[in-house]
Symmetry: C2
Subunit: 370 residues, 2 copies
Amino acid sequence: MKYDWVIVGAGLTGATLAERLAVERGARVLVVERRRHLAGNAYDHYDEKGVLVHRYGPHIFHTRDHAVFEYLSRFTTWRPYIHKVMAEIQGQQVPLPFNLNTLQALYPKRLAERLEQKLVQRFGHGARVPILKLMATDDPDLRELAEFVYQNVFEGYTRKQWGLAPEELDPSVTGRVPVVVARDDRYFTDPYQALPADGYTRMVERMLDHPRIHLLLGTEFKEVEGSLRFKRLIYTGPIDAFFDYLHGPLPYRSLRFTWQNLRAVRVQPVAVINYPNEHRFTRTTEYKHLTGQESPFTAIAYEYPEAHEPGKNDPYYPIPREENRERYQRYREEASKLRGVFFAGRLADYRYYNMDQAVARALKLYRELP
Amino acid sequence: MKYDWVIVGAGLTGATLAERLAVERGARVLVVERRRHLAGNAYDHYDEKGVLVHRYGPHIFHTRDHAVFEYLSRFTTWRPYIHKVMAEIQGQQVPLPFNLNTLQALYPKRLAERLEQKLVQRFGHGARVPILKLMATDDPDLRELAEFVYQNVFEGYTRKQWGLAPEELDPSVTGRVPVVVARDDRYFTDPYQALPADGYTRMVERMLDHPRIHLLLGTEFKEVEGSLRFKRLIYTGPIDAFFDYLHGPLPYRSLRFTWQNLRAVRVQPVAVINYPNEHRFTRTTEYKHLTGQESPFTAIAYEYPEAHEPGKNDPYYPIPREENRERYQRYREEASKLRGVFFAGRLADYRYYNMDQAVARALKLYRELP
């Protein structure tokens, strides 16, 4: 028995490629996965009280990409869901992204009204104004507002999230935080926002449920590479690990979660509450908001960012700094020398992907495969 | 990479052997499993409404074997549970096994009292009297009672369960059905009766969660046998399939389930209700009784016995007939000619095992392995 393809990683990228190759091309595929479960960081499961949770942090599927949504809809029905986030600021829970409702909640009434008028006049109703742009205006009121948002919403959160001061990160990160000139509390504005009705794990199980797809779990690819018989390889793991850290490790930020299960219908007003300023955790997630599950219990995850140490915790977020992208480019050059080996996914591309982007990337690679 | 052991099957037998070999002997083990999940027929999972159910029928762990209970307790805590079953007889739901409470529910008061006195006098309080023994008494009342139990509790159920008349089965099956001379509604009398607190699947996941154990799922062993590198083999699948049905197929009875999920706390008085006489299903199981889960939903499975067809449904129960045991012996002889290949488990031994028996069998084989 020889596999046509070995695919390393059973996350969304690997599952999409395995499914396409087995179904469309009739290929025999072996998926090798380090963990003992499918679905990568999108993995969801029921906790000890029967509450459905996401082990690796909240995953909210949202996309503008009709083709990606249609593709995944072959494997799941959906629960429509509009994601809402609040931040605890000055002891109040207020909507995020910072919008006119947030302004009203935190500012004295008169001042809030004046700022609202100025924002609408200058940027138009519905605009999403990056705070860097707001800081650059000639209006002292708006500059003061930008400063307030920067200090109370962004700065502390960034330090916790990345372990770096904002100025140590690429301006692309800092610049993106918007002030929304509308009473619009939606966290995402994509036309498709939903969760798989039976969860991400079931969806990925269905993607991989094909007689030509075998699953080798709990297995480091490096351990079995020499003994597997296959023609071509798709690698969705960390590209630096594939090349045995030849050019040094690519830095990632990692996360740690602590869990609480309470006898309560719900304890948070929305799924996610950010804590930019107090506490060591960055945010808490109450999963029943996402899943719509009815249960007498509810599960809350507290999320603590931490440094990534290979072998000790999981790599989550590539750290957006120019020097890291340069190091990744050196690995990219190594990769381009290989024949019959293809790289895709967040860890192989050293690039943060939302779930829809991961699937789009996999579908694109699939079309380009020999 | 060469595995010390390949183990075919990730049920309780395979999981026990894999765990022992990896942990105690430091062996490198590959578990090959046809299905895409662990735990064999003990597999439990959350249904679409978040209710924990057993996909392959109700599994109630019960044992007198202290060593087996201690062994499994390394991988789970337990929810104590006393199993109760009722049967719908003459339109009433009455306790099983047939005991003094059942007698009282179904018989006119005076007659019930007379029978109760006779049973206690003749067999003693607390006796479990096989109905064949009851039929053989010289007391016409007791013979009539035995006839009633045979016809109303046993005969119809047996026909549905096995697709055979009771006389076509080994007397060992017929003879075992007891009349219990006590007000004791317990279905099992073993000192240990409990379910794994987080379910069977999690328990087996923990058994197999070891860096030296790799899991190859969704894979027929025959498909990959030639390409795997390993020293020794433990096979827990159907022994006739292993030998390519050389001596013909070993007959099994199979099951089919239909599922209902209702918005209700509970709908049955006990976990299992048998229908010996009416309907095509033999029994219904309401899983929340077993798991103790709290949920606004409840899941019921209707169980339909059916003929086993290899490749179409799963083999459940070896059919207890002499000719089948003889055929199994011929496979057993083939097996004894092989070196470095070991057989164990319900399908390899062609013998119905309760879960504790499967684990005891695996632990015994482990001690005998070279």
